[in-house]
């Protein structure tokens, strides 16, 4: 018999639990694909909707200066909602370099 310490036994139990939970999740996904939204990471959690974001929300993002944040919101009020993320290039003060840095932050819906 293996002489496992208490910590080592916990690791064994952990591995068994992880495999069991994984089986359960996979089974649920096979039954109903819509369950994916509840059980898995949705890409939208890591992005902001450009047409719903508020100025305070933009100001909390460290790489967006205040003037740029105001211009992004101003563009939306002036021209209506964004059709695609690439429209950010039309915002005054938002150059190619900053756009490349920020484009993964947003999605449009």
């Amino acid at each position: 018999m293996l002489n496992l310490t208490q910590e080592e036994r916990r690791v064994v139990v952990f591995l068994l639990t992880v495999v069991l939970v994984g089986m359960g999740i996979n089974f649920c996904l096979k039954l109903n694909h819509k369950v994916r939204r509840v059980l898995c990471v949705d890409e939208s959690l890591a992005r902001i909707n450009l047409n719903q974001v508020t100025l305070p929300q933009l100001l909390r993002i460290r790489c967006i200066p205040k003037k740029i944040a105001e211009k992004i919101i101003e563009y939306r009020f002036t021209n209506g909602s964004y059709g695609q993320v690439e429209e950010l290039k039309q915002v005054k003060g938002l150059g190619e370099k900053r756009f490349n840095k920020l484009k993964d932050l947003f999605f449009v819906k």
Binding site: E7, L29, L39, R62
Partner: protein, 464 residues
């Protein structure tokens, strides 16, 4: 009595800070240090005088090492270039950092060996940061010949680059000439190979966001972590989980010890193999200050087990600081160094005091006791780092302690799942898919809790 190595590390750091603030004359300091060492030998039987002279000698050694590190060799590349230079230089060197491929360009650190200036070749030394204007598949250890504009770092990042040992910035537009000889050490090549294989496994079994977070937590590679997520974690004070540190090193050590125990390796043999594996892991994760600190501390503890001596955490911390500062004294001003050591010191010092103050040992209900202990560790770390973070980032996260109660256990589970996933990915892929599903779920919970915490009123204070 203060632990010796910790005490020496504090004195050594003081010497570095002293030399940084005043104009320190190297040779005068060298003579004074020699004098103090002689006095300490003469007073070897007189305890108080001995420690006094040793302290003064170590203090001056710190000052001398910092002063010496500010002076570059004659053949250093910084003596051949200027701050603003439109000339084209041909630079030959070896890639000494994993190339970072971003959109339309690749950046890496090149250890310069030869520079051609006005058709004259010079042998040089020093590291250069290369910005290569195409996406190219360079590898660690490749020997390259590059043509581009070269200048000294200037502006706000000048001091940061100097501390990292980077003396020039090279902008390359022309195709590079890859000589094709790998000059990396075997350990470095092996670590990079292993890192690539592990990343492939992670991205094979996990979706984008989860794989990015797992890549950061296991391998210290943050480039795939979504910007919004990183930003939210900064606001909630939980971004430390995306940095490979002592926590990860501890898990690696524990898992490896368990594995070798299953394989029936003898006790001391297990410890030696784990020490080697931890050194490989340190190289694999980029050998950043927190990882180096944690690796040295882990080796210190494992060595204690081998030698059947009780390890002292303050001495291990002191040893880690001395090793890092002996190589690069300017690290004492590096934010990563400060945060890493401040957080560990605060936990080690404050946590037992908070625990006895609140009489946690009287709590009988184990889950509640576990939660309170987690909260106190978080609080101790927050107290130790809040000042440094406020000064540098102008932000005070008020929700950190609360967020960490949930985030840290989840991060533990994610790290364990990640290592299990990688291991099973190599050994038995069908189980790896199951572990991947569980990992996705736990990461989803972590992300949602983090977003929720960031949205709480007064979750953080902006100081500017």
């Amino acid at each position: 009595m203060m632990p010796l190595l910790f005490y020496l590390a504090v004195i050594f750091c003081s010497g570095i800070i002293f030399a940084a603030k005043i104009k320190f004359i190297f040779f005068a300091g060298l003579l004074a240090a020699a004098g103090f060492i002689i006095f300490s030998y003469l007073c070897i039987n007189r305890e108080k005088f001995f420690y006094l002279f040793v302290s003064l000698a170590v203090f001056l050694l710190g000052a001398l090492s910092f002063t010496s590190s500010r002076v570059v060799y004659k053949g250093n590349i910084s003596n051949f270039i200027d701050y603003k230079d439109d000339n084209l230089y041909v630079l030959k060197g070896v890639v000494v950092s994993p190339p970072d491929q971003e959109q339309n360009h690749t950046t890496f650190i090149l250890k310069a060996e030869e520079i051609t200036q006005q058709q004259v070749k010079y042998s040089i030394s020093g590291n250069v940061r290369v910005v290569y204007s195409q996406e190219e598949n360079f590898s660690f250890g490749d020997e390259l010949i590059l043509l581009g504009k070269l200048h000294k770092p200037f502006g706000k990042r000048k001091e940061y680059f100097f501390r990292q040992g980077i003396f020039g910035i090279l902008q390359v537009d022309a195709p590079a000439d890859n000589i094709g000889i790998s000059k990396a050490l075997f350990l470095q090549r092996f670590s990079n190979y292993l890192k690539t294989k592990i990343e492939q496994k992670l991205f094979k079994y996990l979706t984008g966001v989860t794989a990015g977070i797992m890549d950061a937590m296991l391998l210290g590679e943050k480039k795939f972590v979504p910007l919004l997520l990183n930003n939210t974690m900064v606001l909630t004070g939980t971004v430390h989980i995306l940095v490979v540190s002592g926590f990860n090193v501890g898990i690696v050590a524990m898992l490896l010890l368990l594995l070798f125990k299953f394989l029936r390796f003898k006790r001391n043999v297990r410890y030696f193999i784990v020490i080697f594996c931890l050194i490989v892991y340190c190289f694999l994760t980029g050998a950043s200050t927190p990882v180096v600190r944690a690796t040295i501390m882990a080796i210190f503890f494992l060595a204690g087990f081998i030698l059947k001596r009780e390890p002292n955490i303050y001495n291990s911390l002191g040893l880690a600081a001395l090793v890092i500062l002996a190589v690069n004294p300017a690290q004492v001003f590096d934010l990563g160094f400060q945060l890493s050591f401040a957080s560990v010191l605060a936990i080690v010092f404050l946590y037992p005091k908070l625990k006895s103050l609140l009489r946690v040992e009287l709590v009988n209900f184990r889950p509640l006791k576990f939660m309170i202990e987690g909260l106190l560790v978080s609080l101790a770390a927050w107290i130790g780092t809040v000042g440094i973070i406020a000064c540098n980032f102008k932000i005070i996260s008020l929700v950190t302690v609360l967020a960490n109660i949930f985030i840290v256990p989840l991060a533990t589970l994610i790290t364990l799942c990640g290592f299990s996933l990688v291991f099973l990915g190599f050994i038995y892929p069908p189980f790896a898919y199951l572990v991947a599903s569980t990992s996705e779920f736990i990461v989803m919970v972590l992300v949602k809790i983090n977003l929720l915490m960031a949205q709480l009123p007064f979750s953080c204070l902006f100081l500017s």
